[in-house]
Structures are given as structure tokens and as C-alpha cells.
């Protein structure tokens, strides 16, 4: 496959675990932990999929998602949202704002892997 995933998450051990399972599956994984500079990183890395945490330092994942959808270059880029807040209103908000998939913590590695495979081949 060799496709590129950008993981935007601030929890170091989650970053390591997800990076490991995706790399083992053949993905190239870039990681970024700061909300404020996340859009610059997207422009620099040009990923095939973004895994985006909602609660990030300096800027919310929802704000980043809004920017992604407002930019013609990234408006259809698959985005898998991760959050520790599983309330229905967060899920609704994510869907309304154009998230491709929404996953609440704690999730299993298999779920993440399956979602990533689905979203890039879809």
C-alpha cells in the first residue's frame, strides 16, 4: 500500500501504538501533536488520510476539521475523528462538519485499522 496517514494526537503512547500498528500494516505514518500548526503539517505532508483527535492543545480537532472541509484541496480528504467524549452531540457535530468516521476512546486496534483501510480504499 504505502499510503500516507497523518496522525494528529497529543497522547504520546497512543501515538506510538497507532503508529506501530499502521506501519506494520504497510502505511507510512506521520505524527503531529499540536492543534495550532496542524494545518501547516497537512499542507506539508499531503496525507491520504488524517486521524484527528478532538481534544488537542491550542486548537480543537473540530476547528481543524472545519478548515479541512473549507479548503478545496482537502475537502474530500478522509478524516477519522477520535475523541474521549462519546456524547451523541459530539458525534452529530462531527458528522455535520464532514468527518468521514467518528471513533470514541477507548477503541481497539482492529477497529482503527479497519476504519483506515475502509476510508482509503472507499
Amino acid at each position: 500500500m504505502g499510503k500516507r496517514v497523518l496522525l494528529i494526537e497529543d497522547e504520546p503512547n497512543i501515538i506510538q501504538a497507532i503508529s506501530f500498528i499502521l506501519s506494520r500494516d504497510g502505511w507510512t505514518v506521520d505524527t503531529h501533536a499540536d492543534g495550532r500548526t496542524a494545518m501547516d503539517e497537512v499542507a506539508r505532508r499531503r496525507p491520504d488520510l488524517i486521524i484527528l483527535d478532538v481534544m488537542l492543545p491550542n486548537r480543537s480537532g473540530f476547528d481543524i476539521l472545519a478548515d479541512l472541509r473549507a479548503d478545496p484541496g482537502t475537502e474530500s480528504l478522509p478524516v477519522l475523528m477520535l475523541t474521549a467524549r462519546g456524547q451523541a452531540r459530539d458525534r452529530d457535530l462531527a458528522e455535520r462538519m464532514g468527518a468521514s468516521r467518528f471513533m470514541t476512546k477507548p477503541f481497539s486496534n482492529a477497529e482503527v485499522l479497519e476504519a483506515v483501510r475502509d476510508l482509503v480504499t472507499a
Binding site: E11, I14, A17, F20, I21, R24, A84, P106, F107, N109
Partner: protein
């Protein structure tokens, strides 16, 4: 006569005891036997002259027959009916129901009271869950840590080769995360335990530090000595400081306490403060130190015998309270933002310019205080970085200093629990009725 019986039942019982026929008693008090029958079966309420006449005929005091509980029972039933109108309770027959089935009626009224109480509890807890930033942050931390452990552990147990350096790293990660999980869970349990009315408000690291200082009346003798204890050693010997964050905050506070004590040693500062009437202005000039140091130092002095203590609040540049030393009559908010009218915030908008104001705290028993505030930079300001300020406010009660009544600034604790209705600074409605 049973204590819980209603008026009609009491009349009937007393009449039977005297061997008096219903028709005879009815005739004596000038009503029909049928009407007396309704009264005796609690289907009609009586009071006033008729009750007095019946009591006289039955040779008892009217108070013996009257039942004060009856009115409150009927009111309880009406209240229950009003909150559930769809049930179609026959509201006009509440008295009859209470009379014929007093036990069941009491049960309905008691259930209503209990439901109302539980609704208030749920409302309070829901409000807390929604607006409590510490709880939200703790739960987020908990779920993130669980996710990290879950993902890492899955990698280790799944089939397939893992390079030894990765395996070692994942083992380390699990170990670290499990420690973090234990600590976060413990802090959360402490915090939730504190929701009970009797529990101590320990939980958030800031509250943990404040509870520890409160037990020492905010005066730390160990830090006043010529050769003081180190902050780390003091924190080590404080079993009340249970979390890493609480201990870190305490160390930071102690280091600052020590720096203040070195700038203003107790032996010279305490008598000078007394002589100056605890007015920070002359003290700052006399000792040549920053106003913030003087305000913190005054709040750390032990109060004179029988006098009220001085309060202190500190906020960062966002206005968030980072330290609270409460004082009687000037409640400090536990969560959320404080009253925007506090001189603390005026000081924040005018860095380095000390602010002094007489304030009157809202409440049923409004009390006046002198407030002294100043905002000063935190650390040494540098180039290419936003200046970071911190504001500090000393709260001096009226028994420690004369506070002018004229022109006192009317302030509150926070909008949600402030009864002042005419406030231009209000940002959200109050849950309290305005105090006249």
C-alpha cells in the same frame, strides 16, 4: 386518640367514647346528621365556630380535635397533583382522599417530597458534570490513558514478531500509563467523594494545596526560620498532598512563600504591618519591595488574637483563580469565573498600577471589606513572547481596618450565585432571587 388521625376521625372517636348518638350531636351543634357523617368520615373539612361548638359538645378543647398535619398533607397532595397533571388526579377531592386513606395520602405526599429532593440532587450533579472543568479533564485523561494501555497491550498479545526494542518500549509505556491511570483514578475518586455535603472539598490539585494550607492557617513556620525547610522536604512530609500535581503546586507555592519571607522577614514585617494598620501602601514604600509581595506576605501573617484573618486571591492572565485563601463573609467561587467587578480584575487590566477599593459583598448579610490588588509580570519578561501577568488581591475585613460605607463597590462571588439584579457586568442569570 391516635396522633395521626384527622379531625373527623377524632370527632367520631370522642363521640363514640361518650356514647353520644350522631343525630344527637348533630342536633346540638345545629347541623344535619348526614353532614356530621360526612365530617366524621373526613369528607368535609371544618374549622372555626363549628369546630368550637362540636368540641364544646364533646367536652374537649378544640385544639384536641384540630389537626395541623391535615392541611400540610392536603397541600402535599395538591403539590404532587400539580407537577403531574397528566395523571388526572381528582384535585378537588384531595381532602377526601387524605381523610379516607390518610396512610396512602401521607405516602403520596412523602414520595413527592422525596422526588423533589432527588430532582434537586440530580440537577446539582448534572450542573457539576456539565460545568466542572476538572471533572471533564480527569475523565478525558482517564479515557486517553485507558486507550493507550489497551492499544499497547493488544499489540503485545497479538500474534506476530515484535522487535525487542519495540517490545521493551511498549512494556515501559504500559507501566507508565498504568501508574498514571492509578493516580488519575484516585484523584477522581477523592474529588467525587467530596460531593457529599460533609466531605472536605479535596480533589483538584489546587483544592488539595488549599486544604493543606488551611490546616496551617496559611502561615508556615517552617518557611519563616533562618534556615528553612526545603519545599521538597515539606511536601514529602505532607501525606494530605496525594497527587503529583498537588505536590508540584505545593512546592511552587512554598518556594514563593520562602522568597516572600526572605524579602519581608517576619521579625521586622509583622510589627511594621501592625504599626501601618495592615495598609500595604506604606509597607511597600518602607521595605522597598513589590506590591504583590506585600499583599501575599500580609495574607501569610498569623492574625492577631481574636481578629479575623485576611483573605487572598490570585488569578492568571485569563482571569482564572489560581489561589484562594477564603475569608468570612467573602465567599470565593469554587468553579468557574469570579465576579468581574472585583478589584482583582481592574488590576489585571492596569498592570503594575495598584488598585484599592472598599467593596461590599452581596448577600443577606452584606459585609464590607477593603480590597488591595495589583497585577505583576510572572517571571522575567522576554522578547518575542507575550507578557504573562498574574494579579493578586488582598481582602481585609472590616474588623481589621476601617472600611468606608460611602461609595463601596457592590460585588458578588460569581454571577450564578449573585443576587444583584441590576448589575451591568452580569454574564449569566442567577439562580438566586434578588435580595431587597
Amino acid at each position: 386518640m391516635p396522633a395521626g388521625a384527622l379531625t373527623g376521625s377524632r370527632i367520631r372517636e370522642r363521640r363514640t367514647m361518650l356514647g353520644l348518638k350522631q343525630s344527637v350531636l348533630a342536633r346540638t351543634v345545629g347541623i344535619s346528621a348526614a353532614y356530621l357523617n360526612l365530617i366524621e368520615h373526613n369528607k368535609r373539612r371544618i374549622a372555626g365556630k363549628l369546630l368550637t361548638d362540636i368540641a364544646r359538645a364533646l367536652e374537649v378543647d378544640p385544639a384536641v380535635l384540630a389537626d395541623r398535619a391535615e392541611a400540610s398533607l392536603v397541600a402535599g397532595l395538591r403539590d404532587a397533583a400539580a407537577v403531574t397533571p397528566d395523571a388526572g388526579a381528582e384535585e378537588g377531592r384531595a381532602e377526601e382522599f387524605a381523610g379516607r386513606f390518610p396512610g396512602w395520602a401521607a405516602l403520596v405526599a412523602a414520595q413527592r417530597r422525596r422526588i423533589a429532593h432527588l430532582e434537586r440532587v440530580v440537577e446539582g450533579l448534572s450542573d457539576r458534570m456539565t460545568h466542572d472543568p476538572h471533572l471533564a479533564a480527569s475523565l478525558h485523561e482517564l479515557l486517553s490513558t485507558v486507550t493507550a494501555i489497551n492499544s499497547t497491550a493488544s499489540i503485545l498479545v497479538e500474534p506476530g514478531e515484535i522487535a525487542p526494542e519495540w517490545r521493551d518500549r511498549f512494556h515501559r509505556n504500559i507501566h507508565e500509563d498504568s501508574q498514571r491511570l492509578a493516580e488519575t483514578s484516585q484523584a477522581l475518586v477523592n474529588y467525587l467523594d467530596a460531593t457529599g455535603e460533609q466531605a472536605q472539598p479535596v480533589g483538584a490539585p489546587q483544592e488539595e494545596l488549599e486544604a493543606w494550607l488551611e490546616a496551617r492557617d496559611y502561615h508556615l513556620r517552617e518557611m519563616e526560620r533562618l534556615l528553612p525547610a526545603t519545599p521538597a522536604a515539606m511536601v514529602q512530609e505532607a501525606p494530605e498532598l496525594t497527587t503529583t500535581a498537588g505536590r508540584a503546586l505545593a512546592e511552587e507555592w512554598l518556594a514563593r512563600y520562602r522568597a516572600d519571607a526572605e524579602a519581608l522577614p517576619l521579625a521586622s514585617f509583622e510589627p511594621a504591618a501592625r504599626e501601618a494598620g495592615y495598609d500595604p501602601g506604606p509597607l511597600a514604600a518602607r521595605f522597598g519591595v513589590g506590591m504583590g509581595t506585600v499583599l501575599r506576605r500580609l495574607a501569610a501573617l498569623p492574625p492577631p488574637e481574636g481578629a479575623g484573618r485576611l483573605g487572598l486571591v490570585v488569578c492568571d492572565g485569563s482571569g482564572t483563580l489560581t489561589f484562594r485563601k477564603p475569608v468570612d463573609g467573602f465567599p470565593l467561587p469554587r468553579f468557574g469565573a469570579a465576579c468581574p467587578l472585583w478589584p482583582l480584575y481592574q488590576a489585571l487590566s492596569r498592570p503594575l498600577a495598584p488598585v484599592r477599593a472598599a467593596v461590599e459583598m452581596a448577600g443577606r448579610d452584606p459585609r464590607r471589606f477593603m480590597a488591595y490588588a495589583v497585577a505583576e509580570p510572572m517571571g522575567v519578561p522576554g522578547f518575542d513572547a507575550p507578557p504573562v501577568f498574574e494579579a493578586v488581591m488582598l481582602i481585609v475585613p472590616g474588623d481589621r481596618m476601617r472600611v468606608p460605607a460611602e461609595g463601596a463597590l457592590r460585588v458578588g462571588t460569581s454571577c450564578r450565585i449573585c443576587p444583584r439584579g441590576d448589575c451591568t457586568a452580569r454574564r449569566e442569570p442567577s439562580i438566586l432571587a434578588e435580595v431587597a
